[in-house]
Structure formats: structure tokens, C-alpha cells
């Protein structure tokens, strides 16, 4: 029991810095909330409250055995709730638990600094989940709060005030910015070659899978997450409706469900026909897969692709999994066509589902009457979809696995783009026309402010390609026939126009509402534009971008040693300037005191120093006796000074200062 009593100390931390630090830590932990066991999360808040309560006078902090118990219990608890103490989420849970425990036991300056460092570390952890501009501002706010708290702590009990500490923290941050910018631009970057990468499991990765089944795209239709942003450095921007962002190609279909299919040979990329080129710069958000999206269809030379290869079906694939934002430049030629179809591609593109309903076969046979050309069969199929009252619907209901195709074609006739693409491709194969499905994104939102296109998960799309001899693979988008405005506008607008109920009574109100919505939309675009710039210039400033930057400054061939030398030199100069500024007296300058001091110095030079005990009047009289020629001037200055210092009327110091400025050389009369 002795151990219990002896190890209990009362808190020595002042309330104000402690509470500031707790607020900062809570701010750092909130974004981690999703990744942390909920009991740990709430346990942390409990720890905050307990620590504040323990800061009352008379209360004592927990004893060593209690702390040990809490430590073992929280680590054990995390291990039990996740089955293992190792891993991303158990790791973060343990981190949060340890921060809570440290908070409970923190006492004294050393522990307080440990809390501050934990605050910095939590800020870093917040950046693992999201790096957009808002998150960074949030992290900067936490940083500022920790700094203000540390300053507040170091000001001690006497002179402490939060506004002043925060103001100093802001000043520190502002003074640190130039050095930070310098380091950011010039400090040598190293990327890659690290084994430990956990962004994949940290980022909220959703989106495309390697599989198309009913519902796989419609499930993303309301997901506004950004997939990538693309700008067009050549200024050659195709219309939104023609933007088919090619992702992956699916070769094997079973009714409405399509998968990647067999391994195929690489097509020879020699027979390219050319056509106009569209150059895109794409900033891809991490998606956990390997697809790289590009406008239909990518035609860059393989050598120009950084870490990416072409896959069969003319799609791009990254060599590495995209777990951090990835930026690439690609050239597309929308009119480009292949001229030869490799044998295994033809076999794969004609592979039929194992079960085909006779009604489907009859439908296809009806198109083949008269042995028409493949183009005519495609046209028949398009006409079929246009005429038979198919409905484009976000909630088409579920189709059975085995008979989904015929159910969709003949009974329900409701579907989203994946239904149409899958059905169309299957029908083409039954008709003997090689076909495949392309998944990717269609359209996007053009940000006129930043001149770039934002593509979101809701723009996910699937379409069909058929092989026509002498033309090559040709895109057929069955959705175009069912819901043409889905293709001509982006999905968000499509949803808006198709769900809004026109109400004639409130035409006026809805006009205002529309105006408001437009303003809101413009603001959103401006904000996204800011985020995009942040992405481009800060987050994507990697080794390559740094090299380009150095090249543009004409420092391309400078060695890192030289650059580091210049960094150090510049920082040293900056520090010297800063220390000179900080040495200067702060606050109001007492010009009267300065003026009188210069007056005294002048007299001291003339051999009449002012004694430390001497008042201004006495000194003035003594000086007047010493230098009788300037007696009136000396007496006047002394009188003015005395008046300025002691008169209750607060006279204007102008006359005194003017007199001091015209100090003569004091010369003692000869013979004195």
C-alpha cells in the first residue's frame, strides 16, 4: 500500500496550459476516430476529463500500480478487440490509448513537452488519411494551438495570457514560413524504395473493381469522391460528352456479370493510324488498384510512360499499386484504331456465356436475317434498345445470376449503364461480332476557373466496344440510346433534372434557389480549384518536380552539396536578420529620454559628465556655469526637459526635440 501512497503526486501543471494542450490533443485525435476502436476513442475523452478533474487543488494523480494496470489493460484490450496488437488499426488504437495514459500521468515540464510532441505526432498521423487543403489547414491549426500552449506554459504563471501567447505563436509561424518554403523547394527529396507503406489501408479507397456486375456502377452513382483531375496542357479540350476515360477492359461475360478474363497477348502497337492528339495531365487520387485512366484511347509511346505499361485492350496499368497520389501525362488519340486483331483476342472476344436463353438467341437471329454486315447488326441492336422502352434507372432492382440477361432484356427493362453494356456486348457476341466491355469514367465536371476536369466516382461508366473489320475496335455506348442526356451532361446534372419536380407556384422562389445553388456551385468549383493547385504544387512536388523546378532556375547541374550549402547560408542570413530585429527595443520609443541622453553625451564629451545622483535642473545649472556662452541654451533645454517630465499638463515635446537636434559644440571659455 506504501507504493500506492508514495507514487501519488499532486499535479504541478497550471490549468490553462493543460486545457489548451488537451484541446490540441483532442483535435489531433478526432480525425483518427474512424481508425480507432471506439472504446479507446471514448476512453481517451474520459482520460481528458479525469485529468482536468485531477488538476483541482488537493487531488492527486494516479499511483504507479494504477497506471501500470491501465497500461496493460489498454494494450491487452486493443489486442483482444482486434485479435492482434500489430497492424494499422490496432497501432493507432494503441497510440491513442498511450496518449490518454500519458495525459493522465503528465506532471511537470518534461511531461508537458512530451504531450506537445505527441500533439505534433498526431498531426502527422492525421495527414495519413487525407492530405487535401482543408485537412492541412486543420493540422496547421493544431500545430498553432500546440505552439501557443507551449509558449503559454513557458511564460509561467505571472505573465501568461493566451491571446499574447497565441500571437507569439503566430509570429513564430510567420517567421518560420520563409525557411519552411526554402526547405520545401530545395531540400533534396527521396521517394520510393521504402518497404513500409500503409497508405493503401488508410485512404478511403472505393471505386472500380475488376468486375462488372449489376449494381457495381450504380452503387457509386452517388459517391462524390474525386477520382482524378485532368488538365490539358495543349489547350486542346474535347467536349465533356466525348470524354470517355478508359480504365479497364473486361473480356469474359456471363450474362450481366463480366470479369477480366484470360491472359492475352499484347497487341502490337505499330499499326497506329494517328489522328488528332489530346494531351492530358492527370492527378490521380490513390485508389488501391493499378489502373491509370486516360481519354479513349491512350497513344503515348510506351517509353514516355513513367512506371506504367499497356495491357491488352489498350489500357494503361501502373507497375505499382496506386496507394499515393500519382501524376502522369498522357497523349490520347480519340480517332485511333487498331487494324489487326490477334487470334487469342478474337477468341476471347467471341467467348459465349455458358447458358444462353432461347429467347435471346431468337432475338439475335432475327437481326441476322439476310446476312447483313456487322455494322448493320450493331445498328439493329441499337434500334432495339431505343424502341423497346428501356428505362435508365438508378434502382433497377436485383437480377438473378442465372437468368439476369433475359429478365433484363424481355421483362423488367430497367437498368443502369452496366446492365446495358453487359447486355449489348453479350448480344454482339451471339451475333458473331467480337465485343468487350470497357469500364472507366465518362465526362466529369469542367472547372472553368482552373481549366481542368474533375472526375468523380459518380462519373463511373461502362460501355461496349465491338470489332469491325477494317475499322478496328469501335465504341458503342448503349446508354447513349436509353438516356442521351446522361451522356451529354454529367451524372449530377442528370440526376438533378430528373428528380426535381417542377412546381409552378414557387417559380419565383425556385429561381432564387437556383441562383443560390449556382453561387454555391461556383464557390465549390473555386474551392476545388484551390485544392487542385494545392495538389499540383505541394502534394505532388516530388523528386521529379523538384528536378524540373531546379532546371527552370538554371540549377539543374548544381550538386546537392552546393544546394545544401546555399540553404544553410540563406537560413543563417535570415537568422541574423531576425536576431537583429528581435534585439531592437520593443514598444514605444521614448524620444524625450533619447534626446536628453544625447544632450548629456554631448556635455560629457565636452568634459562635463552628469553625475548619477544629479537631477536635470542641477545639472543644467552646473553646465550653464561651466559654459557661460551657451548658458541660455543649456538652461532652456533643462527647463523644457523638466517641464516635459514633471508638468501635469503633458506639454508637446516638439520644442525640446527641435532644440536637442541643434546641439552646438560646447566649448569651455579659455582660461577656465
Amino acid at each position: 500500500m506504501n507504493l500506492f501512497r508514495q507514487s501519488r503526486r499532486s499535479s504541478t501543471l497550471a490549468n490553462a496550459p493543460l486545457i489548451g494542450m488537451i484541446v490540441a490533443l483532442v483535435g489531433g485525435i478526432i480525425p483518427l476516430g474512424e481508425r480507432v476502436a471506439s472504446w479507446v476513442f471514448f476512453g481517451f475523452f474520459a482520460a481528458c476529463i479525469v485529468r482536468i478533474l485531477l488538476n483541482r487543488p488537493g487531488a492527486r494523480l494516479p499511483s504507479l500500480p494504477v497506471k501500470l494496470f491501465l497500461f496493460v489493460a489498454s494494450i491487452g484490450g486493443v489486442a483482444i478487440s482486434y485479435g492482434s496488437p500489430v497492424g494499422i488499426e490496432p497501432g493507432f488504437s494503441i497510440l491513442v490509448a498511450l496518449v490518454g495514459l500519458k495525459l493522465i500521468e503528465a506532471n511537470g515540464p518534461r511531461d508537458f513537452h512530451v504531450l506537445g510532441l505527441l500533439g505534433f505526432f498526431l498531426a502527422l498521423c492525421d495527414l495519413f488519411f487525407s492530405q487535401d487543403f482543408v485537412r492541412w489547414l486543420y493540422v496547421a491549426a493544431i500545430l498553432l494551438l500546440v505552439l501557443a500552449t507551449l509558449v503559454r506554459f513557458h511564460r509561467g504563471r505571472g505573465a501568461a495570457s493566451y491571446p499574447r501567447s497565441a500571437w507569439l505563436a503566430v509570429k513564430l509561424l510567420a517567421q518560420a514560413l520563409p525557411i519552411a518554403a526554402l526547405l520545401f523547394l530545395f531540400f533534396p527529396r527521396v521517394y520510393g524504395g521504402f518497404r513500409f507503406q500503409f497508405s493503401q489501408s488508410l485512404m478511403n479507397i472505393g471505386g472500380m473493381s475488376d468486375r462488372l456486375s449489376p449494381g457495381s456502377i450504380s452503387s457509386m452513382a452517388l459517391n462524390g469522391d474525386i477520382v482524378f483531375r485532368a488538365d490539358f496542357p495543349d489547350g486542346n479540350i474535347p467536349p465533356i460528352s466525348a470524354m470517355y476515360w478508359r480504365g479497364g477492359v473486361l473480356w469474359r461475360g456471363e450474362g450481366l456479370t463480366w470479369v477480366l478474363g484470360p491472359f492475352l497477348s499484347h497487341e502490337r502497337r505499330t499499326g497506329l493510324l494517328g489522328g488528332p492528339a489530346v494531351r492530358q495531365r492527370i492527378s490521380l487520387q490513390p485508389h488501391g488498384g493499378r489502373w491509370l485512366f486516360a481519354l479513349d484511347s491512350p497513344a503515348s509511346d510506351e517509353r514516355d510512360l513513367r512506371g506504367a505499361t499497356y495491357q491488352p485492350g489498350n489500357v494503361l496499368q501502373s507497375r505499382r499499386v496506386i496507394i499515393s497520389r500519382f501524376r502522369y501525362e498522357i497523349l490520347s488519340r480519340p480517332e485511333n484504331r487498331e487494324t489487326t486483331l490477334p487470334r487469342d483476342h478474337r477468341i476471347a472476344a467471341l467467348h459465349l456465356p455458358s447458358h444462353v436463353d432461347p429467347r435471346v438467341r431468337a432475338l439475335v437471329d432475327s437481326w441476322k436475317v439476310g446476312n447483313p454486315a456487322p455494322e448493320q447488326i450493331v445498328e439493329s441492336a441499337r434500334r432495339y434498345f431505343r424502341r423497346e422502352h428501356f428505362v435508365y434507372s438508378l434502382q433497377p432492382g436485383t437480377y438473378s445470376d442465372a437468368h439476369g440477361l433475359e429478365e433484363f432484356l424481355f421483362e423488367r427493362r430497367q437498368g443502369f449503364c452496366e446492365h446495358y453494356a453487359a447486355a449489348f456486348a453479350t448480344l454482339m457476341r451471339l451475333a458473331g461480332i467480337p465485343s468487350r466491355i470497357v469500364i472507366g469514367y465518362h465526362g466529369g465536371e469542367f472547372n472553368s476557373l482552373g481549366k481542368y476536369v474533375i472526375v468523380r466516382q459518380s462519373d463511373a461508366h461502362a460501355w461496349c466496344e465491338v470489332w469491325i473489320k477494317d475499322t478496328g475496335w469501335q465504341r458503342v455506348d448503349p446508354t447513349d440510346m436509353i438516356a442521351p442526356d446522361r451522356i451529354s451532361s454529367n451524372f449530377a446534372t442528370f440526376l438533378q433534372t430528373h428528380t426535381a419536380q417542377p412546381d409552378p407556384d414557387s417559380a419565383q422562389g425556385s429561381l432564387a434557389a437556383t441562383g443560390l445553388r449556382e453561387i454555391q456551385h461556383d464557390l465549390q468549383l473555386a474551392w476545388d480549384s484551390l485544392n487542385y493547385q494545392w495538389d499540383l504544387h505541394v502534394l505532388n512536388f516530388d523528386e521529379e518536380a523538384q528536378n524540373n523546378f531546379l532546371l527552370s532556375l538554371g540549377l539543374g547541374s548544381t550538386s546537392w552539396v552546393d544546394i545544401l550549402f546555399w540553404i544553410v547560408l540563406t537560413v543563417a542570413l535570415f537568422i541574423a536578420a531576425l536576431s537583429y530585429l528581435l534585439r531592437r527595443p520593443q514598444g514605444r520609443v521614448d524620444k524625450v529620454a533619447q534626446g536628453y541622453a544625447s544632450f548629456c553625451r554631448a556635455l560629457a564629451r565636452a568634459g562635463l559628465p552628469r553625475e548619477p545622483w544629479e537631477g536635470a535642473q542641477h545639472f543644467g545649472a552646473r553646465a550653464a556655469r561651466q559654459f557661460p556662452e551657451q548658458a541660455t541654451f543649456l538652461e532652456r533645454i533643462s527647463a523644457l526637459y523638466v517641464e516635459l517630465r514633471y508638468s501635469p499638463a503633458r506639454p508637446n515635446p516638439h520644442a525640446f526635440l527641435a532644440a536637442v537636434r541643434r546641439l552646438p559644440r560646447f566649448t569651455a571659455p579659455h582660461g577656465n
Binding site: G108, P109, R110, H113, G116, L117, F120, F121, A123, L124, L127, F128, Q131, W136, V139, A140, L143, L147, L150, V151, F153, H154, R155, G156, R157, A159, L172, L173, Q175, A176, L177, P178, I179, A180, L183, F184, F187, R189, Y191, F194, Q197, S199, S324, R325, V538, L539, N540, D542, V571, I575, L578, S579, L582, R583, R584, P585, Q586, G587, R588, D590
Partner: protein, 300 residues
């Protein structure tokens, strides 16, 4: 009270700098391994903050003026108490300034010096060896503003103070030249003047017991009587040949302390210096100063 020459302000890393470095390395590693530009930016921002805080730590100690006021003499082994006045020049505030005699930083937040209000504090430190000291070694430290660096300034505050030899030794008072009436124990028992009281001991005469005080106290006190005497105690350096220098000085100090307490008249004879027989505070301190600044028999 005189102003003191101050050394340069140096800013040193401390234990927390190590912790900060660890966090910075973690940020840099995260930036590199996760291709996380935001983590890089955070890392660089924090690094720059640390650099800027060094300048602020330096400026916080810069321009402080230290003066030491009268330091009372102490015996060797006792604590010296130095009243220190710290004032800021140039109308600036200085935060969390700690003044101590050693380099080690006490674990309490320091004091704030606001313009026009000098900070007064007492610096206590174990006395240096006996002697006449002319410099008070002081250290100014501050962790302001962020605590990741410690600013340090050495101040050699010029100020005289004496450390007397520690009173040690068990030798009886030396025999005096004047005849004695009874064995000396440092206190005379007979005389005309009341000389205070002390504990009554078994076997002593009951005539001098302070009976009035006995009514108030559970212990018996006996009155002591001292008187003007023509006797002079001669404390001679040469009378203690068996001891080494410091032990002799300690013994002489002990005798002087005892003699002063016993209202004796005493004379100190050191090689090369004799302080004429007298008594009282001035005489007492003169003798002890002589002992403190004694430089050895070679000086004779």
C-alpha cells in the same frame, strides 16, 4: 551594488530537442515513404519553427542586466545567499528567466521580467572554500519560447563576499597572559553583569537558577554572570603548531566565535597581521575576515 560583465548568450539543445528530432525524423520518413508531400511540409515547417525558436530563445536572454546586492558573510559549508536584481534593458519583457549558481536548471518555470520592474530574487548556493571572493558565478537560463532549446548565459557578477573558515576544533582556549581565577571554558561564571541564561545542569549551584523563568518553563535555567575584565585572550597562529593551516584557521575561528559569544576580549595574532584586542561585531568580523583571507604562513 554594481553592474556585472555578462558573457554571451548561447542556445543549447536539451533533452526535448532529442524528442523533437525524433518526431521530425518520423515526419520526414513518412513524407518519403508514403510520398506524402503534406507530411514533408509539416516536417519542414516544424524544423523552421525550431530554428526560429532558437533566435527567440537567444533574444529572450539578450540585454539582461544583473546586479548583486550585499552578500552576508558565511562560514564555509553554509549556504551563501546572494540577493540578485535582474533588470531588462530596452523596455522589453523577458520570460521564464531562471537565475542559479549552477548550470543545472531547476525544474520550475522561471520568472518574468517586465520593463521598468526589475526582478529581485535570492540565489542560494553552497559556499565555496574559505576566502575573500570577488565574483559571484551566476547562470541565467531560459526555455522560452517553446522549450526545445535552452538559452544560457554565464554571468560573472562582480561582488565581494567572504567565506569564513568553518569553526572547528576542540582545543580549549589558550592560556592567557593575565592570571586566571578558574579554568576557562569560554564562559565566566562570576561577574557583575547579567549575561543571559543557559540550561541548569546537575551539580551546579542552585543559587543562580532563574526561578522566575522556572515558573514559565519546564526546564531549569541558570543565570550567568559576566563582568568587565582586564583579561585578554590571545589567539595565536604560533600556538597551534601541531595542526595544518586549515585546521589551525578552523580552531582560531572556533575560539573567536566562542569568545565573542562569551563577551570576551580577544586578540588575533596571525603571521604578518595582528588585530588588536577588542570585542564586538566589528572586531569579530575583522578577525574572521583576516582568517578568511589568510594566505598561509609563508606570507609572514
Amino acid at each position: 551594488m554594481q553592474s556585472s560583465p555578462t558573457g554571451r548568450v548561447w542556445v543549447w539543445p536539451n533533452g526535448r530537442t532529442l524528442g523533437l528530432t525524433a518526431v521530425l525524423v518520423a515526419m520526414c520518413y513518412a513524407g518519403a515513404s508514403q510520398s506524402n508531400g503534406a507530411a514533408y511540409l509539416l516536417c519542414f515547417l516544424l524544423t523552421s519553427l525550431a530554428i526560429v525558436s532558437v533566435v527567440h530563445a537567444w533574444a529572450n536572454l539578450h540585454g539582461l542586466k544583473i546586479t548583486v546586492e550585499t552578500i552576508l558573510p558565511v562560514f564555509a559549508g553554509d549556504e551563501v545567499v546572494a540577493p540578485v536584481v535582474v533588470s531588462g534593458k530596452r523596455g522589453r519583457s523577458h520570460f521564464s528567466v531562471q537565475v542559479s549558481a549552477t548550470r543545472e536548471v531547476p525544474l520550475t518555470p522561471g520568472d518574468t521580467i517586465v520593463p521598468d520592474a526589475p526582478l529581485r530574487l535570492e540565489v542560494r548556493f553552497p559556499s565555496p572554500g574559505r576566502g575573500h571572493h570577488r565574483v559571484v558565478p551566476l547562470h541565467l537560463t531560459s526555455d522560452y519560447p517553446l522549450g526545445f532549446f535552452t538559452a544560457h548565459q554565464r554571468v560573472k557578477a562582480a561582488h565581494d563576499f567572504y567565506v569564513y573558515p568553518a569553526p572547528h576544533g576542540s582545543l580549549p582556549f589558550p592560556t592567557t597572559i593575565a592570571p586566571t581565577r578558574q579554568p576557562r571554558d569560554g564562559v565566566r561564571h562570576e561577574g557583575d553583569d547579567f549575561g543571559g541564561t543557559r540550561m541548569w545542569q546537575q551539580g551546579e549551584s542552585q543559587r543562580h537558577i532563574d526561578w522566575k523563568a522556572a515558573a514559565r518553563n519546564p526546564v531549569l535555567l541558570t543565570k550567568q554572570w559576566t563582568g568587565e575584565t582586564d583579561e585578554i585572550l590571545y589567539f595565536e597562529w604560533g600556538a597551534l603548531p601541531a595542526l595544518d593551516t586549515e585546521a589551525r584557521l578552523s580552531q582560531l575561528t572556533k575560539w573567536i566565535v566562542s569568545a565573542e559569544r562569551g563577551f570576551e576580549t580577544y586578540e588575533l595574532r596571525l603571521p604578518g597581521k595582528t588585530i588588536r584586542a577588542s570585542r564586538g561585531d566589528g572586531h569579530f568580523h575583522e578577525c574572521l575576515r583576516a582568517l578568511a583571507s589568510f594566505e598561509g604562513p609563508a606570507a609572514s
